[in-house]
Amino acid sequence: MLDIQDLHASIDGKDILKGITLKINAGEIHAVMGPNGSGKSTLSKLLAGHDDYTVTAGSVLFQGENLLELDPELRAAKGIFLGFQYPVEIPGVSNMVFLKAALNAQRKARGEKELDAGDFLAWVRHRVKLMQMDTAMLSRGVNEGFSGGEKKRNEILQMLVLEPRLMVLDETDSGLDIDALKVVADGINLMRSPERAALLVTHYQRLLDYVQPDYVHVLAGGRIVKSGGPELARELEEKGYGWIQQAA
């Protein structure tokens, strides 16, 4: 589904990613772990189309198509979803209006029929309940006055509504208490299917206790320095990142 080959990227002339190669097949969940400043967030934002980064070498194919040529909105329509580390507040635009606009914009771009208000309401209410949120949140502004945990929950809600093919979650677990973490993990597990894949970017192993990854990669200094199975995450949790960086 996603094929990253020797990806190099920089911001303001500073190299951040220094040759990443990563292949994610449909049905797989990959975790990317690493110390702060290793390039984790850069990788996720770059996949979603953030234009702060300049790709200096390498390629990214998504379902066989050159992803790097596409605008963020087109990547979304093709099935890429980025769960933000710091979701943005959009006061004055309700969650309902925003979600419907986003879903219908994507459906339109894919040549599908847009949902009318009634169908959409049923679609979204069901998912709000799955995320154990109050449906009253639908009439509130997007992330307006939400706590850190509520914002992350809202990211997962948006993901459930938009039903992407590739879920890229950038530190979605940070700042969550254990109950919220479980709800977020349930949301991700709900989306797990043979047609979908996920890239979980995280600093801690915590989330991986609830969402079992197929592969774990350690990112340090802009490169993947080690890959393995779920046991690698536990090893990192015990030993920290020091030994990996030294080995690299």
Partner: protein, 364 residues
């Protein structure tokens, strides 16, 4: 002044009964003072020459005489309004809350006097949406101890409109006023807001939005005078200018020597949407007391790129995402309009004139 002779002729065309002595005195005062010149600092960016060039048929002094004429005038415009206007002269009885907002009759030239007796509460709407080519609205409002005023001023006239409005608020002990001021249209619009916080505990909140389009010119000047200790002021103005429009904002906060424990905050934010648009925004702070809390800030900018990326990453086309962010920028002011019908009307009008606003409207 010869150039203003048409103003005299229009006045003299009024029925004799309308040409009262105070009005005539005001007219003479206006003709003697003339229109304020751009050589004055507070008129630096706003040239009133177009007012002298208006056709006589556009001047339209009010035939009905009200009791709101005064004897002293602050400047030529004040005197002109005194000579031409008619309006409401009301007092809200003590400890009474007006159930309905005051909506003065839609006259071309209006001069209102309102007094809120102790503990009373009222909402006043000043609206310049009429199609008159030239309109002036002046209001002088006294807030007695513990009274509360909600003032909404909307200027959404057509592209030919010339508007001069001026509001003075005088707040006594523990009086409270919130003001929402919106400029969405017109060719030439000038609004002055004077707030006197005269006694301890008085509090004012001002929210303003200016969004001129085309070749429109909008000038807002505010003066918030902290004249007594323990008063609070909050002022937030936002501007969006597109096309070749020109917006001016000048906000003076003055803390007088006795006004210890003043708590004042002023925020100004501007978005310039077209290369040909200009915004001159200037905060001014004069502090003559030493134990005060005054915060202020002014920003000029483009849309928040992180927010833009967030919206696009969810699938919204760039133009829709931009329009949504402009809308939220303005909404931060409009949400303070306490009346649903007025807020709805103003919002619709704003969406019509924002680039891509129809896309936002279609989402609601």
């Amino acid at each position: 002044m010869d150039m203003l002779a048409s103003y005299r002729r229009a006045f003299e065309a009024l029925p004799a009964a309308a040409q009262t002595a105070p009005r005539r005195a005001a007219l003479e005062r206006f003709l003697a003072l003339g229109l304020p010149s751009t050589q004055l600092e507070i008129w630096k960016y706003t040239d009133l020459a177009p007012l002298a060039a208006l056709p006589e048929t556009a001047l339209l002094p009010e035939a009905e005489v009200s009791t709101t004429a005064t004897v002293e005038y602050a400047d030529g415009l004040d005197a002109l309004n005194g000579a031409y206007a008619s309006g409401m002269d009301r007092s809200i009885p003590a400890r009474t809350r007006l159930p309905e907002p005051l909506r003065p009759e839609n006259r071309t030239h209006q001069r209102h006097r309102l007094r809120l007796e102790p503990g009373s509460e009222a909402t006043l709407i000043l609206n310049t949406s009429g199609d008159a080519l030239f309109q002036t609205i002046f209001a002088d409002i006294d807030l007695a101890a513990g009274s509360r005023l909600h003032l909404i001023r909307i200027s959404d006239a057509g592209m030919d409109a010339h508007r001069v409005t001026r509001v003075r608020l005088h707040l006594a002990r523990d009086a409270y006023a919130d003001v929402v001021s919106v400029d969405l249209g017109g060719k030439l619009s000038r609004h002055d807001l004077h707030v006197d916080l005269n006694e301890p505990g008085a509090e004012v909140h001002v929210h303003g939005l200016y969004a001129p389009t085309g070749s429109g010119h909008v000038d807002n000047h505010t003066w918030i005078e902290h004249r007594a200790p323990h008063c609070v002021s909050r002022e937030s103005f936002r501007g969006l200018a597109r096309d070749k429009a020109h917006a001016v904002f000048n906000g003076m906060i003055r803390v007088h020597p006795d006004a210890q424990k003043t708590d004042s905050e002023q925020r100004i934010a501007n978005l310039i949407l077209s290369p040909g648009a200009v915004i001159n925004a200037k905060p001014e702070l004069e502090i003559y007391a030493d134990d005060v809390k005054c915060a202020h800030g002014a920003t000029f900018g483009q849309l928040d790129t992180e927010a833009l990326f967030y919206l696009r990453s969810r699938g919204l086309p760039e133009s829709t995402a931009r329009a949504l962010l402009m809308w939220t920028f303005a909404h931060d002011i409009l949400r303070h309009i306490p009346l649903d019908d007025v807020r709805g009307r103003v919002s619709q009008r704003l969406l019509r004139q924002l680039p891509g606003g129809e896309q936002v409207g279609a989402l609601q």
